[in-house]
């Protein structure tokens, strides 16, 4: 290859000459008869399945006289008559239901009449409702004294960590009191 020719293309490579190639690709002409071939395909497709496959396929096949695109549907008088008939059916049905409903029981609940004293605070219609949750249970006094419940958290922790030591601590005063009972004179 001629070196000058090669240089010419090399120089176009180095700059934005590559865009020229892309532009050439983008400006390639379409093959002859492309439009005709596409149109033939589309026509065949259109005639093979006019509306059943594409777009608005009709699932319910109404009789011709009842279709929405029929002429009588378009006249305003017919549409008004149809609307009036629908409204009459709806109102009639509602009235029928309403007239059959009996108010069998009179109102047994009478709301208390709240009177607001002049210058005082009103309750704003608030009503007291009873407590539905279980309240705290009060233990029997005898049962409460029999259990040596720790009073402070420190004591509770001590018992939890060293139960044997706690037992000893409880037993010691008992023993001391026992020896005291032996040796000491009985005081009435």
């Amino acid at each position: 290859m001629n070196p000058s020719t090669q240089d010419k293309f090399d120089s176009s490579c180095s700059s934005s000459g590559f865009e020229e190639t892309l532009r050439l690709v983008a400006s390639l002409s379409a093959p002859e008869g492309l439009e005709e071939r596409v149109e033939v395909t589309l026509r065949a497709e259109l005639r093979a399945a006019p509306r059943a496959v594409y777009g608005r396929a009709r699932i319910l096949h109404w009789p011709a006289a009842l279709r929405l695109d029929h002429a009588w549907v378009r006249s305003s008088l017919a549409r008004a008559a149809a609307a009036a008939a629908i409204a009459a059916v709806v109102i009639g049905g509602g009235w029928g239901v309403y007239s059959r409903v009996e108010t069998s029981q009179p109102a047994s609940f009478v709301a208390p009449l709240h009177t607001v004293p002049p210058g005082g605070f009103s309750s704003a219609g608030a009503m007291r409702t009873p407590q539905t949750l279980d309240g705290p249970l009060v233990a029997h006094p005898a049962a409460a004294t029999s259990k040596a419940a720790p009073k402070t958290p420190a004591q509770a922790q001590l018992l939890r960590v060293r139960p044997a030591a706690a037992k000893k601590a409880v037993a010691k005063p008992a023993a001391a009191s026992g020896s005291q009972q032996k040796g000491a004179p009985i005081i009435p």
């Binding site: 026509r43 497709e45 005639r47 006019p50 006289a65």
Partner: protein, 191 residues
């Protein structure tokens, strides 16, 4: 009975008229945009028959959605977007064919009017080299660069076709040009 016959006749006539109108509208679309769609398709698939198939498929999709055709704001961009998605999908699926074949074929069919045989060979070699470099760009940058070569597409329209913002188009285009310059100046730095 007579009324029913008349209704059926009217319906058949309306259907035929609607069919004719749709055919005319589609024919107008085909004659106006088939060439553009073919070029867009060809720039991606780089094969004449594949590009034509893509154009046919694009118009068949239009046929299927012809009820919404009136709602389309810009039919040209809409059609380009359809064919763009078709060809990208096809290219993604047909990974088996080596791309070097496409590149050499494309370099051969590119116009080289007024050049001697020697110059034509050099031009073909150059085009093949450029297209090989384009193939090595990341997909996002490559797509924007290829669409930017179409003079009839603005950056807003490219953004609409690819489905990104206009600023993204510009930044991708900038990156693509830089990468291309690097690839063409230093062929060894190809991925």
């Amino acid at each position: 009975m007579e009324i029913a016959d008349k209704a059926v006749h009217d319906e058949t006539r309306q259907h035929a008229e609607r069919l004719c109108a749709e055919e005319e509208a589609l024919a107008a679309l085909v004659s106006q945009y088939a060439g553009t769609l073919y070029r867009v398709a060809y720039s991606v698939v780089r094969n004449a028959s594949d590009a034509e198939d893509a154009v046919q498929e694009a118009f068949l999709r239009v046929l299927r959605h012809r009820d919404t055709l009136n709602e389309v704001r810009d039919q040209r961009v809409w059609l380009i977007r359809i064919v763009w998605n078709i060809v990208l999908d096809r290219k993604r699926r047909s990974k088996t064919r080596p791309e070097t074949d496409d590149v050499s074929e494309l370099a051969r069919v590119l116009p080289a009017g007024g050049l001697s045989a020697e110059e034509r060979a050099a031009a073909a070699q150059h085009h093949a080299h450029v297209l090989a470099c384009v193939e090595q760009l990341p997909a996002k940058e490559r797509q924007v660069l290829m669409l930017s070569a179409f003079e009839e597409l603005t950056s807003v329209e490219i953004a609409s076709v690819v489905g990104i913002t206009e600023s993204s188009v510009r930044s991708r285009l900038f990156r693509a040009r830089n990468l291309m310059a690097g690839l063409l100046n230093h062929p060894r730095s190809l991925r």
